[in-house]
């Protein structure tokens, strides 16, 4: 077993385990933290797959995103600490069946498809970043710019939806 294989397995198992913990704990703050650990383990998995830029980006982005999620959890949940052990699930058997079927189908595709010969090495971290930068500002610029505009639109739309409607009293009516 190579070191890369070991680290991919280790961080993969950690990511899946923390993913399961998200839905097993009663405490919503623990759920958000488990999701943070799951996503961080994924970032570490990217690093072990020599995708340095994406690994670091994943860890940084998810740390921020999940911290915000934990705050929202405390704000919106009836029992954020999970002390009441409220069951907040429905159609459990159907969901479990759908989850298992999708897992088995995806694994079957992964195992039975001939993916061709695997590449033994990847470009080093600096070269990867240069290549990605040139890709984003060259051939894929339209896609990249569209993603930027879409996220800006989503931010404005989310703020517009979330903002408290102001009730204006029209003084000129009377």
């Amino acid at each position: 077993m190579t070191a890369q294989m070991f680290f991919i397995s280790f961080f993969g198992i950690a990511a899946v385990w923390f993913g399961i913990v998200v839905f097993r704990t009663f405490s919503m703050v623990r759920s958000a933290l488990a999701l943070l650990f799951s996503q961080t383990a994924l970032g570490a998995m990217f690093l072990s797959m020599q995708a340095e830029f994406l690994g670091v980006l994943q860890i940084m982005m998810m740390a921020t995103e999940m911290s915000i999620m934990a705050i929202f959890m405390v704000m919106f949940m009836m029992d954020p600490g999970g002390l009441g052990e409220m069951d907040m699930t429905h159609q459990k058997r159907l969901s479990l069946g759908a989850g298992i079927v999708s897992f088995v189908a995806a694994v079957a595709i992964a195992v039975f498809v001939d993916w061709g010969p695997a590449a033994s090495s990847a470009p080093d971290a600096a070269q990867q970043t240069v290549d990605l930068g040139l890709e984003l500002l060259g051939r894929s610029m339209l896609i990249f710019e569209t993603a930027g505009i879409t996220i800006l639109t989503a931010m404005i739309a989310a703020t517009a939806v979330a903002i408290q409607p102001v009730k204006r009293s029209n003084e000129h009516e009377h």
């Binding site: 991919i8 399961i20 839905f23 799951s38 995708a51 915000i68 949940m77 429905h90 517009a160």
Partner: protein, 103 residues
Amino acid sequence: MSIELLLALITGAALFGVGVYGALSQTNLVMIMMGVELILAGAMVNLVAFWRYLHPDNPAGQMFVLIIMTVMAIEMAVGFGVAIARFRAKGSVEMEEATELKG
């Protein structure tokens, strides 16, 4: 096929399965969003693995991962916007109570 690619794809499949279970079984909007995040994370692992083990010289594979990250951020932003609006209007983000559009 390399074992590393297979391990990464199985991890992606497992995350996808856990995410599907979470998105379907949870009644709270924020928990449903967590399930969707795991589904997208599963897709992301596959993309990184395909880039690394099949086409490491083509940076377009990494670009797709950035797009998935954008989708995750958009999902969070819009989801929380809807959650705030719902909480303000109804005092809860329990989706079992959201039956206004039920036919």
